[in-house]
Amino acid sequence: METAMLYALRDPAGVPSHPVIFLVLGVLTWALHIAAVHVMLGASTLTLFGAFKQDAHWRRLAAAMLNTAKVAVSVAIVLGVAPLLFVQVIYDPFWYTSNVLSARWVIAFIVLLIGGYLALYAFYYRNPDMQAKPTRGAWHLVLSIGLMLVVGWIMHVLSVQMLLPEQWMQWYAPEGHIDPSGQQLHAYHAARFAFFILLSEAVTGLWLLGYRRYLMGREGEDPAYIAWLKPMALNLALAGGVLALAAGAVWMLSLPEKMVWFATSAWMGAALVALLAAVAFPRLLGKRLDAGRWGYVPFALGAVALIVVAAAREALRFVTLLAAHGYDALDYKLNWDGYSTVLFFVTFAVLGGVVLGYLLTVAWKAGQTQGVYVPSPGLTRLGQLAVLLLVVWIVQYFAVGFYVWAR
């Protein structure tokens, strides 16, 4: 595929802010999305393990992880919207082509994701109290995990296909005859998929450490359960890290020629160091893991490691498309729009920060309180500010809108 053809596919409307902003936001939001995906997969798998155990600790963990998985799917979906948006902005020629060439699978993605989510809820409704009652309908959970892996595979294929423009014509018109059915998944890289999936085990281990620390702050918690969680979390983090890095090594050794540079790049090195640090850190902490708020730090460090991995993944895409195909994602035509740019960042940082800060703090503290939780005056003022900001946002929407309309 000639470079001129790739550029012709770009949207002629251009972008409203410098492309690097979309690139950076794409990296950050993809890292958040994949973290939620990892927690969802790990929590579902732990629930499945617990579903077949009689041990009281396992049953309790399964019940907690089922609730975690349920929320994590919601969070993964809503967080996934942002990177899906940003990839279309600066990589539209690649993303759209890859999608159209496997269109039936793209539609299937929607149906299968709904199926996986509903299966999880079906399992939940059949097992509202896993701690006290035997498991019913475990196949729902198996189905859910299976479907989630399939939708992950579809996203994986779409991400790989977009990096292979040299093969697009052959896929679309094999032997010169157009096949518009979109029924094939054309390219994949199993080791790459395995790397990202296996990483969920490590992330879940770090998540469990945070969960354990959360329980330690709660009144009247069972110390035996908290102690039982520790080795499991540490082992999951380490084993998951080792398995993911092994898959990552296979991925690096099997990169196509135009991507070989990536295996020895600084990006890859940084990702490797970040992942090793994240999985080793809880063990390095030793007894301090149980002191103060240190128990939360491993997951935070894991999140940072995922951002580094996301940046490396982006570097692989950006540099490959630039070096092998001459496509520079950062030279997208700019049609600067100040109002919408500023409005987003203010909404994101100020309104989003205050409102989510308030909601999550209340949720956190209510979860750690026995009985009815009454927020402090300071937190209540934050809540009042949250409402005020939302009202102000809506008022400005109408004020600006009526002004523009009447102008």
Binding site: L85, N99, Y121, T369, V400
Partner: protein
């Protein structure tokens, strides 16, 4: 050679890609509008519950909220991005036009989505676990954030029909594209009908309430909400129609089926009667009947409305500058966008597209029908099915005509000039018009039992006369 940015085409012979988008969009409207309406209704119920000390109303919030977790926050949250996915494969340049003009607006909406998802879990699971004032505050936050998502998407939907201000074409700018009369009329209309949907769907939950007195109270609240919003929505529909562009009005008069207006009136009347009946006799309300009414709203209210909206903006798919067949139809100096029609007139479709195999770039005696198939995919299949089923089957417009020359004359006369209302300007040169006509003539021989276009098209080459090549 100058390229135009047309993507590969996805063609689904059973339903047609357009209807798949329509189906996903329609069910998403039901899920999402119900959620937004319910969020506002919850804030009202929570206020009443705390002011009048009626904790049973909080119980209803919890029940309805748990129902919505699946109904709106599973199905709705997936079909939302599902619209992106389906339009990506069915109309990539249409969704791209919206994404590139409104990326920050969608990103802003995403902030509200995150708040909404956190809020729905909190409003359900924190009943009785936080003090009243805090729970009420969370309800208000949830309601405002939900409505924020509605405020944002409305402007983008309006732009699809018609950029808010005509200055958008010359000056560009997000504000000129987003805000206009249609934005506010559509916002008002959808706000009314989202309460109708909330009331109908809420009946599924209210119908299962065991306590007769409580069931009566909730059912009547829902019925009042439903009756008021149905009447107000019906009136606002007139305002909405008045804000449509002139072409849409002509299309509405000439292209929408005669039963369209009647079906809307009947649907609204039936829904109103249903609410009235449940207000008089709350015992009528059962989950099964409420579920049937939800389907009635979906099939007889939302589906015609969504398909009409799609029809009224023809021949465009976005912003009155991107044709349904993905070609950029006009200059938009404000954004430095140039019409692709002159390039197509100069070079033809096959030479201008990126995704055309080398063997189909030039029309020859041996490939005319296959080139025609390629042209039909590009220029027609977004709106016209190439099989017997699906959206507006193409063959149906030619009445079984197998006269290639006659079809070619029609294509170049009616479509090549751009003078047919509702249809895009399709500047076919002689060779490409012949190729497309050959394909259509071949398609008119399709047996209803074997609607496989390409095979038939290739067969059609056997009878196609020799024609001039493109170059």
């Amino acid at each position: 050679m100058e390229y135009i940015g047309l993507y590969p085409v996805w063609y689904e012979p059973g339903l047609g890609s357009g209807w798949i988008v329509g189906l996903i969009a329609t069910v998403h409207v039901l899920f999402s509008h119900t959620a937004v309406g319910a969020a506002l209704f919850f804030a009202y119920l929570a206020t009443v519950a705390y002011r009048r000390n009626q904790p049973e109303l909080l119980d209803f919030i919890k029940r309805y909220g748990l129902f919505l977790l699946v109904f709106s926050y599973v199905l709705g949250s997936i079909t939302g991005p599902g619209i992106w996915y389906s339009t990506t494969v069915a109309s990539p340049r249409g969704i791209s036009a919206l994404i590139h003009s409104f990326v920050w607006k969608w990103a802003t909406e995403w902030v509200f989505f995150v708040i909404e998802v956190v809020g729905v879990y909190m409003i359900i699971y924190l009943v009785g676990k936080v003090d009243r004032a805090t729970h009420l505050r969370i309800s208000v936050i949830f309601a405002l954030a939900s409505y924020g998502t509605m405020l944002i998407i409305i402007g983008i939907l309006s732009f699809m029909m018609w950029p808010g201000k005509p200055e958008w074409f010359t000056e560009g700018g997000y504000l000129n594209g987003f805000y206009g009369a249609n934005t506010f009329a559509q916002l008002a209309l959808r706000t009314a009908f989202m309460f109708t949907m909330t009331a109908v769907v809420g009946g599924i939950v209210a119908g299962a309430i065991k306590d007769p007195a409580f069931k009566r109270e909730i059912t009547r609240k829902l019925a009042l909400l439903g009756m008021a919003s149905t009447v107000i929505g019906g009136l606002l529909f007139q305002w909405y129609m008045a804000t449509l562009p002139e072409t849409a009005e002509v299309i509405a008069q000439n292209r929408l089926p005669e039963w369209f207006s009647l079906s809307l009136v009947v649907a609204l009347s039936v829904i109103f009667a249903w609410f009235a009946a449940t207000w008089v006799r709350p015992g009528f309300l059962t989950p099964a009947i409420a579920s049937i009414m939800t389907l009635v709203v979906l099939v007889f209210g939302l589906w015609p409305e969504e398909t009409a909206r799609e029809s009224l903006r023809k021949p465009y798919v976005a912003g009155q500058y991107v044709y349904s067949n993905q070609v950029i139809a006009r200059d938009v100096p404000g954004l430095g966008i140039h019409s692709e029609i002159p390039v197509l007139e100069r070079q033809g479709f096959q030479q201008s597209q990126v995704f055309v195999p080398q063997g189909l770039k030039t029309v020859t005696a041996g490939n005319a029908a296959e080139v025609g198939h390629s042209l039909a995919l590009t220029t027609c299949s977004n709106c016209h099915s190439l099989s017997d089923t699906g959206m507006r089957p193409l063959a149906g417009y030619f009445g079984g005509n197998r006269d290639v020359a006659a079809i070619q004359v029609y294509l170049q006369g009616a479509l090549g000039t751009g003078n047919t209302l509702y249809m895009p300007h399709i500047p076919l040169n002689d060779a490409e018009a012949f190729a497309l006509a050959s394909f259509i003539a071949g398609m008119n021989r399709i047996s209803p039992l074997h609607p496989e276009p390409r095979r038939v098209a290739v067969n059609a080459t056997a009878t196609a006369p020799v024609t001039q090549s493109q170059e």
